[in-house]
């Protein structure tokens, strides 16, 4: 019964809140759709926080989405032992990058008063949630390998039963506790997503990737401006 709630009902609660609250926030407070970058407030440690975190988590998320959409492709790739190990080690490495970045994010926001000042309770909550997510993910990767294969065989079918509104939790019931915690926490993050800085994911300025380069140059005499101050 508990399993049915967490893996057959809670995902829907989480997704309904996600969609409704995301749309509502965009319609009523569209200018709050931002991560409210603190890069101007501290720029040195920011690099070792933001860069590993973002490259790490985007790769990890991409892997999860790929296993959900193309499980047979993953299983085909994993059919050769060397490829399976390459994929798993890469997955673990990018998860470690995410963890290193996240720890640096937290340290930076605690260490630098300006960055600390602009950190809200929601930000701390989401850092905590992400920390749990990444630590359980790494724990699963090490203790219950090879997740890339058994995600494709056992978790993808469950996710598709959710998509088809006919949840079959029998795939999840026998899973180790750490896997269950990872899944529940994932849907918890999706639930609080619209109320936090994570909304910036939805407004990533993707056209930056292919628009023409814009060169920003100083068009004034810096010395003169400074002297006048």
């Amino acid at each position: 019964m508990t399993n049915y709630f967490w893996f057959g009902v809670f995902p829907y609660i989480s997704l309904v809140v996600f969609f409704l609250a995301t749309i509502r926030r965009y319609r009523t407070e569209s200018f709050s759709y931002s991560s409210l970058s603190s890069q101007f407030l501290e720029n040195e440690q920011h690099f070792w926080a933001s860069v590993p975190f973002h490259y790490g988590i985007l790769t990890v998320l991409g892997g999860h989405i790929l296993a959900f959409l193309c499980p047979q492709m993953i299983l085909g790739w994993n059919a050769v032992a060397a490829r399976l190990i390459a994929l798993e080690v890469t997955g673990l490495a990018v998860a470690i990058l995410t963890l290193v970045g996240l720890i640096n994010i937290v340290i930076r926001r605690l260490r630098f008063p300006k960055a600390r000042r602009v950190t809200t309770a929601g930000d701390w909550f989401i850092y905590g949630g992400l920390l749990v997510q990444v630590v359980t993910g790494i724990g699963i990767s090490i203790n219950h390998g090879w997740g890339s294969s058994w995600f494709a065989t056992s978790l993808t079918p469950w996710l598709w039963t959710l998509v088809k509104f006919n949840p079959d939790v029998s795939y999840i019931t026998p899973m180790p506790l750490m896997v269950k915690a990872h899944i529940i926490n994932a849907f918890l993050i999706i639930l609080v997503f619209p109320f936090t800085r994570l909304v910036h994911i939805l407004v990533v300025p993707n056209p930056y990737l292919w628009r023409k380069t814009q060169v920003v140059i100083w068009n004034w005499d810096r010395n003169r401006i400074r002297k006048s101050n």
Binding site: A79, I85, A93, L97, S149, P157, P174, P176
Partner: protein, 282 residues
């Protein structure tokens, strides 16, 4: 009678008769109980086909009364531990291995299953007389095929996932197989040979495997090949899972460190121009 046609007067009597019969009586076995037995029981028990991991169930009703059997199905361990001599004999025949708790068992289902066993016992040849695995000698080709099936190099015909996703085995190259399920190095001896292992593979009762293989079962040739491979690798020592986990973790850390160095090199000019000014002002 009451002006009703004769055929209709019989109907209420028939319905009353149906109501009087309870679930413990000999109803014809339901489709539900047949499917349940096939998925949950047939991997360890036959009806008239001899012992597998568990005893042959033919003529079960003659061995013990219905009340005890229902109690046993509801909680096998507690019933065996109660000290009953028959329970002790079952336990010693199974070399001290308890029957695992049965998924979704309740009193009604237990009675339906016992009815099914009684009905099948009365037949000359039950449909559960056991998975018929070939007795022919196992060849090197069988072992090679089994290895390819285990590793996923050869896909299972019905599309079931390869064993390596969740299981490891001694003699596997690299860092071994998955750690979600048990190490299968000792599976051949644990299940006492070809017949029982074959039955297990033909309808795996484990809660993780059941949803995966119920609709994608292994065919008899695949089962034989896997039995051959598991037999060939049996007893060569179980992999040390901890050492492979450590190697795996270290490899992950090394690659992550390498990526950090790469970031540092790729963005080596990151603090020039405007950013340098910002840093200086801090």
């Amino acid at each position: 009678m009451f002006g009703l046609p004769k055929r209709l007067t019989i109907l209420p009597l028939f319905l009353l008769g149906l109501l009087a019969a309870n679930a413990t009586a000999q109803d014809p076995p339901s489709e539900e109980s047949i499917n349940y037995f096939r998925t949950n029981c047939a991997s360890c028990h036959t009806i008239g086909g001899g012992r597998l991991t568990g005893p042959d169930l033919k003529g079960l009703a003659e061995r013990k009364d219905r009340e005890w059997l229902v109690k046993f199905l509801l909680d096998p361990k507690a019933t065996l531990d109660a000290g009953d001599p028959y329970g002790q004999k079952l336990l010693s025949d199974a070399r001290g291995v308890y029957m695992p708790p049965v998924a979704g068992m309740n009193k009604e289902l237990a009675n339906k299953l016992l009815n099914l066993i009684d009905a099948e016992s009365a037949l000359e040849k039950s449909k559960f007389s056991g998975f018929q695995i070939s007795e022919r000698p196992l060849t090197d080709l069988d072992i090679a095929t089994g290895k390819a099936l285990f590793n996923g190099q050869k896909a299972l015909q019905e599309g079931g996932p390869a064993c390596i996703s969740c299981h490891t085995l001694s003699g596997l190259s690299g860092l071994g197989g998955g750690l979600l399920g048990p190490d299968l190095s000792g599976a051949y001896s644990r299940l006492e040979g070809r017949k029982a292992l074959g039955a297990w593979l033909s309808s795996p009762p484990s809660v993780v495997m059941q949803p995966l293989y119920t609709n994608s079962p292994l065919d008899s040739e695949e089962v034989l090949a896997l039995v051959a491979y598991l037999k060939a690798t049996a007893g060569t020592g179980e992999l040390e899972a901890e050492s492979t986990s450590l190697e795996f973790t270290l490899a992950g850390i090394a690659l992550a460190a390498g990526l950090m160095v790469l970031f540092d090199i790729l963005w080596r000019k990151r603090f020039r121009s405007v950013r340098r000014t910002l840093l200086a002002q801090r």
